[in-house]
Amino acid sequence: MLIKKSTGEKIFDIGNMIFLFLVACITVYPMLFILASSLSDYNAILRNEVFVWPVGFTWAGYADVFGDGSIFKAYYNTLWYTFVGTFINLALTLMAAYSLSRKYYMLRSPVTMIIAVTMFFSGGMIPNFLLINELGLYDTRWAMVLPGAVSVFNLIMAREFLSNTIPDELSEAAKIDGANDIHIFFRIVLPLSKPIIAVLALYYGVGHWNAFFNAMIYLKSADYLPLSLYLRRLLVLGTTNFSSGTMMDPLLVNDPTAVIGITQRIKYASIIVTMLPVLISYPFFQKYFAKGVMIGSIKA
């Protein structure tokens, strides 16, 4: 620093940091509360004694969630949609991004144009719904992974990344050595694209993990329902009947207050169980969060 800080500036700096710290606290507090409550005694939950730390620590809430078992099917479905969906997303996006990143590619501008138009016009909810029906995808797993297979925003981001990382000269030199574009894609582009693959996988993957509306309108069979709809039934509609663990305890069955408390704890535990993969992978992925936005904003 060239100039010494004045007292006013020091006060501002300290005040600013305290303020931002409070903002961060408010941001995490709801999650902290849910976590603490999910590990607490149901009586403590009913008496509103839980704030930051579990009161009367117990795993019973989780035992109830897993004991009922209906969450496993939903968990499996969501995992399936996330993995298969993200794989399709990555394959289509990266392949197209490589072609469109070659400046000499003859169809570069017409194809880019066709894709860009879809950002401003769309058929909307009902024509999409009718299409899914016409294609015979209604109430199949594919209805969860094919619509939205490529996001224009992500495609542009990947294209920008590839045109910076793999210049035209590199792919042309490889061609002189006898490689064709397919070889180049698998042997040069993919190995050099790890950062962008991580960013794309994160964006697409979280989208699939949280997908809710498409599941609601395209799926009917209980066999295919993802976690988001399981949680909607439990948290929003409140229509789930649990028949496990603490709920079946003969001492508690006829105690309506206890049932409210236990149901409450099941809700907390279900939220944590659903968020677990996101919570666990969060520290691992967090270094990539900003990267994607940076790559995407080179254009802007």
């Binding site: 392949m95 003859m106 879809t118 769309s122 574009d181």
Partner: protein, 311 residues
């Protein structure tokens, strides 16, 4: 010996380039098929808006009815209410949700301790990854009049329990507040990225010219993010008729349709639940056209005033 190469005719040149790029076509083909089938075919499907669609007849054989569905929507008693609710929610989001990430980024940029800054930033992103079902689920839990934490706190101050999620007065504030909670950190990334690109010399030069901290923010930091602010503002205005209907579907109930029912939720109830596909398509079409006009108009205004444009 160098052979004189004959110039290729236009047609041959096209064929030559087409064959040269054949594998590039192959790589772009799956994505193109996706866009044609899942984006362009539904655009063609908009003709359903001018027909009386039924599943038995299919899209092509359903009879044409002209503007019937559009007229029915314009004459509907819900028309005004839907437009009003949509715009109020959008404008509230614009007024409250839009500036907060900017302010947050500017404040965070003033913090000189890198560790502290990164920690706060990482925490602020987190709600972005929480699914909308969980966000609304937490609201139901925390705001419940019988067992909710918020009402328990209010009761300490002798305030009667409030049924927040059933109250039409609370719907809009809750919609906007939860929106701020979920998006402020994530939306601030782009501003922070722009701010981190500002050269330190600019701040030092401003200091030498006698600018204090506030003036430095005003004359260095804010101009650095202004183009991005304008572009995002254009996009927001372009989406004025578009609100987070997924969240509304989870939040609302018939008791508060008066303030919470928006165009997309109405289309969902009428068509997906009620089977009136042509009517819903017409409303969606109308909504799309307004969106498009809005974005073109705002963009051209921005081009004139600030020379920032989307295209």
């Amino acid at each position: 010996m160098v052979k004189q190469q004959k110039p290729l005719s236009a047609r041959n040149q096209f064929l030559f380039r087409f064959m040269r790029d054949k594998y590039l076509h192959l790589l772009v083909l799956p994505a193109m098929l996706y866009f044609i089938i899942f984006c362009y075919v539904p655009m063609y499907g908009l003709i359903v808006a001018f027909k009386d669609f039924s599943f038995t007849k299919g899209i092509l054989d359903s009879p044409w009815v002209g503007m019937k569905h559009f007229e029915a929507f314009f004459d509907s008693i819900f028309f005004f209410r839907l437009i009003k609710n949509t715009i109020i929610l959008s404008v509230m989001t614009l007024i409250f949700s839009f500036p907060i990430p900017i302010i947050f980024a500017l404040l965070l940029n003033e913090v000189k301790f890198k560790k502290f800054r990164n920690t706060i930033q990482t925490i602020s992103y987190f709600p972005h990854f929480v699914s909308i079902v969980i966000v609304v689920g937490m609201m139901h839990i925390l705001l419940s009049p019988e067992t909710g934490l918020i009402n328990a706190i209010l009761s300490v101050f002798n305030i009667e329990p409030i049924a927040f999620m059933q109250s039409s007065g609370w719907f809009r504030p809750l919609y906007v507040l939860s929106n701020i909670w979920q998006s402020f950190g994530w939306s601030s990334i782009i501003y922070l990225a722009a701010l981190s690109g500002v050269q330190l010399e600019l701040y030092e030069a401003a200091q030498i010219d006698g600018a204090g901290r506030f003036k430095q923010v005003l004359h260095v930091s804010i101009p650095a993010i202004l183009p991005i602010v304008i572009i995002l503002f254009i996009l927001q205005i372009g989406g004025l008729m578009e609100v987070g209907y997924e969240k509304i579907l989870l939040m609302y109930n018939p008791g508060i349709y008066e303030v919470s029912d928006v165009i997309s939720t109405y289309v969902y109830r009428k068509s997906i639940l009620g089977g009136e596909y042509s009517f819903g398509t017409a409303i969606g079409f109308f909504n799309n056209v307004i969106n498009f006009i809005l974005i073109v108009v705002v963009n051209s205004i921005s081009k004139k005033v600030s020379s920032v444009s989307l295209w």
